[in-house]
């Protein structure tokens, strides 16, 4: 049987229509729910953080919804896995925003935050936070619809350097950082800050990403003979190598790190090298009990096992999102990027339920608060080593 030309044409047209129908049929009905979209790195190199953040957001959404939502409207969390790749994050953003009316968004990286910024401004409907603490984003003019849930990397260095200047005036400091945007972010401004605090930067060592052997860098570090060494731009490797080799070669430095190296489980993975490891952390750890910590107790009720600092970050982000929405709705304003950001900036002396040890205000794009913690190997915990330091005071 020969299929005639006209039949073939009809068949073709039918198939084309079917394809179009499939592709175009993704429109969704609008809801009264308040949607939190998320590009979350649930797999890939940042997965440990992504999974924690995912759980943190989910838990706080549950707390809010169990209490009846905000003004009767429930929160709905719509995440997508991105594998910590910028184009996957952007694709996820497009997908979620095309299928839902999104007012709040959690982004997985500095790269994504920068890429999506102009789109956020154009859309004007979303307030965004994320896993990035990049100093560049801490600029309310350039990034009017985004904020950081904690101090930016330069502020973190600031807290560390102030602590060092208090402990040992005129000390020698060395920076060890990775050759990535993440790593290089705070170095230049911190160099200046160190000088202004009377500290001398005796060494700046940059390691190529993915380098296996850091013996050469350790030798350089030993030459610099710092009193304090600050690591930045890493999650775990090569910090233990530096510490072990450095100690064995007789270095007397104190070892410090920034947010993403400070999770308890990560630090304890260092083994012996972890003893005395210090760093700045804007949040209390999961297991802390001193002080007024109702939120921590609630978290411990919901999750009996240890939750990472990434979890806390996601949890707190959602708390701040909720507060911004509450204030906007209470003022009778519409939920869009500008109003939500203004509501966020109106937050003053806000009690986070113990997650951050002092009441916080969000004047700009970051929360420049933190305190120094030190690793205690015997208890396998990070314990506080200073008071809460707030940089806007």
């Amino acid at each position: 049987m020969i299929i005639s030309k006209s039949r073939r044409a009809t068949l073709g047209a039918l198939m084309a229509t079917a394809c179009l129908a499939l592709a175009g049929g993704a429109a969704q009905a609008q809801d009264k729910d308040i949607v939190i979209g998320g590009s979350i790195p649930m797999s890939g190199v940042f997965a440990f953080a992504g999974l924690g953040i995912h759980d943190g957001i989910q838990d706080y959404v549950k707390i809010v919804n169990d209490a009846g939502g905000i003004d009767g409207r429930k929160l709905r969390y719509v995440p997508e896995d991105t594998g910590y790749k910028v184009d996957a994050s952007v694709a996820a953003f497009k997908k979620i925003t095309s299928q839902n009316e999104v007012n709040l968004y959690y982004g997985d990286s500095t790269g994504f935050a920068k890429t999506i910024n102009s789109e956020l401004d154009r859309m004007g409907t979303i307030l965004m936070a994320g896993a990035s603490f990049a100093s560049e984003i801490n600029d309310p003019e350039k990034f009017p619809h985004q904020f950081l849930v904690g101090p930016d990397y330069t502020e973190m260095f600031g807290i560390l350097l102030r602590y060092i200047a208090d402990e040992k005036p005129g000390a020698k400091v060395a920076f060890v950082y990775s050759d990535t945007e993440f790593g290089r972010d705070p170095i230049e401004s911190s160099r200046e800050l160190a000088k202004s605090l009377g500290l001398s930067v005796s060494g700046e060592i940059m390691t190529p990403p993915g380098s296996v052997d850091v013996s050469t860098e350790v030798i350089k570090l030993r030459r610099a003979a710092p009193d304090y060494t600050i690591f930045h731009g890493y999650v775990l490797a090569p910090i233990p190598e530096f510490i072990i080799q450095g100690r064995k070669m007789g270095m007397k430095s104190h070892w410090m790190g920034t947010f993403w190296t400070m999770d308890n489980s990560m630090v304890m993975k260092m083994g012996e090298a972890a003893e005395g490891f210090m760093g700045v952390m804007p949040f209390r750890y999961y297991y802390e009990t001193e002080g007024d910590v109702p939120m921590l107790e609630k978290i411990r009720e919901m999750r009996p096992e240890y939750q990472s600092t990434a979890y806390t970050q996601g949890f707190l982000t959602t708390m701040l999102f909720t507060e911004a929405v509450k204030r906007t709705l209470a003022a009778g304003k519409e939920l869009n990027g500008d109003n939500l950001k203004a509501a966020l900036n109106s937050i003053e002396n806000f009690d986070t339920g113990g997650i951050i040890g002092v009441p916080i205000s969000i004047k700009g794009n970051s929360i420049p608060v933190g305190r120094i913690y030190r690793a205690d190997l015997e208890q396998q915990k990070m314990l506080p080593a200073s008071d809460w330091i707030s940089l806007d005071q």
């Binding site: 997965a47 052997d213 050469t216 490797a237 070669m249």
Partner: protein
């Protein structure tokens, strides 16, 4: 000029230490190329599998260290044999570029596998090398680097001897220089192929354990293989001695670049060196020159 000789000496020692690892990995690469003429870009990933299997045995199942090493070596060998049978054998006779791309695909598969089974987090291997830094005169060397170098040197020496004196080694060299002649001499060429891949896989496992002991393991540790590419181009794709000398040389150069120019120049210098070698002497120091000029 107050030149810090001690610093230079220490840096050079560290460089030679890394160079030993490069030489060992280069050795695995050369083994495969010599016998089967395949440029195996997945060599870094084969190292990674060896390190992870060791991790699984030593940390996961808490086996004694020597048993874990043995297990990893056997696993590495099996992997090599499996890859050869399923991916390289069917590509016999295809253009070298196609086979090269197959190894690129293999690298992706191995990375995905490791990420699936063990997760994407970097891990540390259980400590099994002696801890105290080694002193040569006044210069420190990190202990791991020193012992890693020892292991690498021993293995390279062993392989050189095997190729010289053992029948299997001679069979390998024969197959490498002329497959048809080897066949007609009664050498079981397919078995030589399998043998070379198995052997290379086992060696890669050992290299992986050492590299993992020094820098930790993660699904992205395979990028080590790219530096090794420079090593074997420098030394000659089919020369064991070249891999040794090339490894030491590149290790030194990288250490000097990192120390005197800064960490970001390390890879740059290596790759500029690669381009220079390709322009000046593409077959490397000791490689056999294939007569085909333009």
């Amino acid at each position: 000029m107050n030149f810090d000789w001690l610093f230079l000496f220490e840096i050079s020692l560290a460089g030679i230490g890394t160079g030993g690892l490069y030489a060992l990995t280069g050795l695995c690469f050369v083994l495969i190329y010599k016998a089967t003429r395949v440029v195996n870009l997945a060599i870094g990933e084969m190292l990674m599998i060896g390190a992870y299997v060791f991790f699984a045995f030593a940390a996961g199942m808490a086996l004694p260290i020597w048993l874990a090493i043995l297990g990893a070596v056997i696993a590495g060998g099996l992997l090599g044999a499996l890859v050869e049978r399923t991916m390289i054998r069917p590509m016999l006779g295809e253009s070298p570029i196609s086979v090269f791309m197959v190894t690129v695909g293999l690298a992706s598969i191995l990375v995905g596998l490791v990420e699936l089974v063990w997760g994407a987090n970097p891990q540390r291997l259980p400590e099994f090398l002696p801890d105290d830094p080694v002193m040569i005169g006044e210069a420190f060397i990190a202990s791991k680097v020193f012992y890693g170098f020892l292991v690498a040197a021993l293995l390279v020496a062993a392989v050189l001897l095997i190729f010289r004196f053992w029948r299997g080694g001679i069979a390998l060299r024969a197959t490498a220089s002329d497959q048809a002649a080897a066949y007609s001499m009664g050498i079981n060429v397919p078995r030589v192929f399998s043998l070379s891949w198995t052997f290379a896989g086992a060696l890669a496992a050992v290299a992986g354990i050492v590299v993992g002991a020094i820098g930790g393991i993660s699904p992205v540790m395979g990028v080590f293989g790219l530096s090794v590419l420079v090593v074997v181009i420098f030394g000659g794709l089919d020369s064991v001695l070249g891999a040794l000398i090339g490894g030491l040389f590149i290790g030194l150069v990288e250490a000097w670049a990192s120390a005197y120019l800064g960490g970001e120049y390390e890879l740059l210098v290596t790759f500029i060196l690669l381009v220079l070698i390709l322009m000046v002497r593409p077959y490397g120091l000791f490689g056999t020159a294939e007569i085909e000029r333009l």
